[in-house]
């Protein structure tokens, strides 16, 4: 039973998340009926599930909540901000309801009864204004019908002081219309009696009002005019372009359409409409079916096992290739090549399975921004781009906290108050863009705000006052901005409820480092701040370059590598300032043999791998370059947790272990080491 409950809670959590996303969408597009349907459906599923697993409290609660949206979709209730606010509060409450331990908490009880009352008030409004609203459209039947109206006024209608055009105007105010005025009875100009009416009209009117209302329009002229009102069908035929066109053609040819002809056309049109409706319905059904068939739930344990097995397979396949190379057995090579191909395909698919779109995470932030903008009284437009970008699920899980912190910072310190914004010539409404996109083998996530930006001078002064940097040290703007990531640096002048709770940007950076990511800040004072997070696509595999240093293999991530040069040994060991001229430009370099405390090599030629380091090129000197290698990354274990110049290790085809370098951290470490 426990495992069922666990399953339920898992599913319910997912449903509640979905509900939240749907509600946020609905808040933006309150007119969208499909969203109301979606909200209702999710609540309904949640209700059904909780009843099935004996969560009665959730069952009852959702039942009432669902009723609101049932009424909305039946047009008995109008969606409003108070309703949405209550619903959001309910969603929060539902989350806490999943944990039964909360049930005895007095706070929980007050919230619960408070929300139940609020829901009740929405479902059964006893206030008078509710009635007024429903009284305002008493004739509304909800169904639109199309009528054919032939109006032939009496020739001396003008003598009664009636203008038939007014009548037509009144008629047309009832709904959609198409008027055909017929002038075929108008005599030659010499014979016209200006006091007489020769014109008659045929009107197609689509309205949700009763036939009697149409009669009421003509109530004063009905007795001495020819009036024919005929219902064509319960559809809005006026909106049907093909039908109108045909009627227009008919009117042109015949000068006069006539009820019989129109009825015939209307019949065809209605059957067409019905056909289309049926098609649309089945299409929707198919779409729903497709969605359910296209994904299945798999426990993440199974996926982890699959990933491990595939990793093993990749390693074993590398061994097989090596074996086949060393032993020239006829017929083995093609098989090995085939296995290699299949393994690669299998690996690609297996790795794509654990990639999930970042959508869910971003959805959560929509809610965060919504709540924060209310709390801080800052109007903010929150734009999400690239929510379909896919990332390893472990990365996404670990990204939540740092991103939340960054967004809170943007909301709290970044976006200014409306009056300040207006004074600075900015739109009163702030803007925060959260976007994700692919860039090579990485995914970039950016949080861009158009707020106050960061003042580098202020940061610098503060860092000096906190003793984080020496006052006389010259620093570039980028270096200064990077100071905000230092532990013990918090720029908030006042501690607010939202940010500045002691968790600084240093924690953000650490968390992102933990998932092999990097974080950068770029800011223009008065214009805004952009925080860029660069992440690997997946944590467990990287494309690398296999190199050797002192006969030990190492893997350098291919994404960091710019170029490789073969350089004579003398050039490297005879330079005292650690600069080397390659392709006409001087770049700093580090000899990895030297930095790893090894003897200089005896080879005449050494390889300089030029890698990107914070927008600069830095050379790393190794003995040999062996070739490209797909490395399955394995952790070095807890014992090496403080030793992060290697992001892990990989097992080569012959069973030896190669260390995978983290070039950024290696360069950082050596650069600091050399300065000291």
């Amino acid at each position: 039973m426990d495992s069922f409950r666990k399953k339920f809670i898992e599913e319910a959590t997912e449903l509640i998340d979905k509900l939240e996303v749907a509600l946020l969408d609905l808040e933006k597009n309150p007119e969208d009926e499909t969203l109301v349907q979606q909200v209702f459906r999710i609540m309904h599923t949640l209700k059904g599930n909780s009843a099935m697993f004996g969560f009665e409290l959730i069952d009852n609660f959702t039942h009432n909540l669902e009723t609101i949206y049932d009424q909305i979709r039946n047009n008995e209730l109008e969606l409003s901000k108070p309703i949405l606010d209550v619903t959001f509060a309910c969603v929060d409450h539902l989350k806490s309801m999943l944990d039964e331990q909360n049930y005895n908490d007095p706070d929980f009880k007050t919230i619960h009864s408070g929300l139940v009352e609020k829901i009740d008030a929405i479902i059964n409004p006893q206030k008078p204004e509710g009635k007024v609203e429903s009284n305002s459209k008493p004739e509304a039947k909800g169904v639109t019908s199309t009528y054919y109206i032939l109006f032939e006024p009496n020739a001396d209608i003008f003598k009664n002081g009636t203008n038939p055009l007014y009548l037509l105007d009144e008629l047309c105010s009832l709904g959609d219309y198409k008027v055909f005025a017929h002038f075929n009875r108008v005599p030659q100009i010499a014979e016209i009696n200006p006091d007489e009416c020769y014109t008659y009209w045929e009107v197609l009117l689509a309205t949700d009002k009763d036939e009697s209302v149409i009669h009421d329009v003509f109530i004063f002229v009905e007795s001495d005019s020819t009036l024919e009102i005929q219902k064509l069908g319960e559809e809005n035929l006026v909106a049907d372009q093909t039908f109108i066109k045909e009627v227009e053609n008919l009117a042109e040819v015949q000068k006069d359409v006539g009820l019989v002809a129109i009825q015939r056309l209307a019949k065809v049109a209605i059957s067409n409409i019905n056909k289309r409706k049926a098609e649309k319905f089945t299409k929707e059904r198919i779409a729903v079916k497709d969605k359910t068939a296209s994904s299945i739930r798999v426990s993440s344990d199974k996926l982890d096992t699959l990933m491990n097995l595939v990793s093993e397979l990749v390693t074993t396949q590398a061994r097989l290739s090596l074996f086949s190379e060393q032993n020239n057995i006829p017929g083995l090579n093609p098989i090995v090549e085939n296995v290699q191909k299949l393994t690669r395909q299998l690996r690609d698919i297996a790795f794509s399975i654990v990639l999930i779109p970042i959508e869910n995470l971003f959805g959560r932030f929509q809610r965060l921004v919504r709540d924060l903008s209310a709390e801080l009284n800052k109007d903010v437009e929150f734009i999400v781009e690239g929510a379909d970008t896919e990332l390893d699920k472990t990365i996404i899980e670990n990204l939540s906290d740092p991103l939340m912190h960054i967004l809170r910072n943007s909301m709290d310190h970044g976006i200014e108050e409306a009056r300040v914004r207006i004074a600075n010539g900015k739109p009163a409404k702030g803007k925060i863009v959260l976007k994700a996109f692919y860039s090579g083998a990485s995914v970039i996530i950016q949080v861009i705000d158009d707020g106050a930006g960061i003042d580098p001078e202020m940061i610098h002064a503060k860092a000096i006052s906190k003793g984080l940097v020496l006052p006389d040290k010259k620093m570039s703007k980028k270096e200064i901005l990077d100071l905000i990531f230092l532990p013990g640096f918090s720029t908030a002048k006042k501690v607010t409820d939202v940010s500045g709770r002691g968790v600084g940007m240093d924690v953000v950076r650490k968390k992102i480092y933990d998932i092999r990511g990097e974080v950068e800040v770029d800011s223009e004072k008065g214009i805004g701040t952009t925080i860029t997070i660069k992440l690997p696509l997946t944590l467990s595999i990287i494309d690398g370059l296999l190199v050797s240093i002192n006969k030990s293999p190492y893997v350098v991530p291919l994404s960091a590598i710019d170029k490789i040069y073969a350089v004579e040994k003398d050039k490297i060991y005879n330079t005292f300032n650690n600069l080397i001229t390659l392709d006409g430009s001087q770049i700093p370099f580090f000899s990895l043999r030297k930095e790893f405390d090894l003897e200089p090599s005896n080879e005449e030629l050494e390889q300089v791998i030029v890698v990107n380091f914070e927008d600069e090129s830095v050379g790393l000197v190794v003995d040999y370059v062996i070739g490209e290698y797909q490395a399955v990354l394995k952790p070095l274990g807890k014992h090496y947790k403080n030793h992060d110049i290697f992001s892990g290790a990989t097992i080569l085809g012959d069973g030896t272990v190669a260390l995978v370098m983290d070039t950024n951290k290696i360069i950082k470490m050596f650069a600091i080491g050399n300065k000291e």
Binding site: S552, D597, F646
Partner: protein, 171 residues
């Protein structure tokens, strides 16, 4: 295997470092490997010898001599890697320990385990469960979790008494 069962097992694996004989509870020992080439990790603390490939996983290897504050020795045919399952903050971590030689699996009853004499002991008490006498030899029973945890600076020998055994200065 739950905790009670583990405690009921009285088997200990004994191994030697220099002349000293130590014992580890068998529930902590996963495997005993012959010495294999170790991939050195540059810039790591000295006692962390590097990593090896243990059936497709990467296993960190610790030189028990250095960790125990003893001088390093040449590896011989008897040198072994004991693969240990260490509990670090409630998490199971695998680590290899290089020892001079593996002796035997012996039965030690809880009643046989004597507390370490507080005076004159060279070992820090938190790393030692106790001592036992086996065939006239004294064996030191180690708390493997404490000894091989990830803490960089663990030295199981009290610094004051180092001069007794250590001929050259390690760290």
């Amino acid at each position: 295997m739950d905790k009670d069962n583990k405690n009921q097992i009285k088997s200990y694996l004994t191994f030697k470092l220099g002349t000293e004989e130590f014992a580890a509870h068998v529930s902590k020992v996963l495997n005993i490997l012959e010495m294999t080439p170790i991939t050195k990790v540059p810039k790591a603390p000295e006692y962390l010898k590097g990593v090896i490939n243990l059936r497709g996983a990467v296993l960190p290897v610790i030189d028990a001599r250095i960790k125990f504050g003893m001088p390093e020795a040449e590896y011989t045919n008897n040198t072994c890697i004991i693969v240990l399952d260490i509990d670090v903050d409630g998490e199971s971590v695998h680590v290899g320990a290089i020892v001079d030689s593996v002796q035997a699996v012996v039965e030690i009853d809880n009643s046989q385990i004597m507390p370490l004499p507080t005076l004159g002991s060279r070992y820090k008490s938190e790393f030692i469960i106790g001592m036992a006498k086996i065939d006239d030899r004294f064996v030191i029973i180690l708390n493997m979790d404490a000894v091989f945890s990830t803490d960089d600076i663990t030295q199981i020998v009290d610094a004051d008494s180092l001069e007794d055994t250590v001929t050259e200065n390690n760290e």
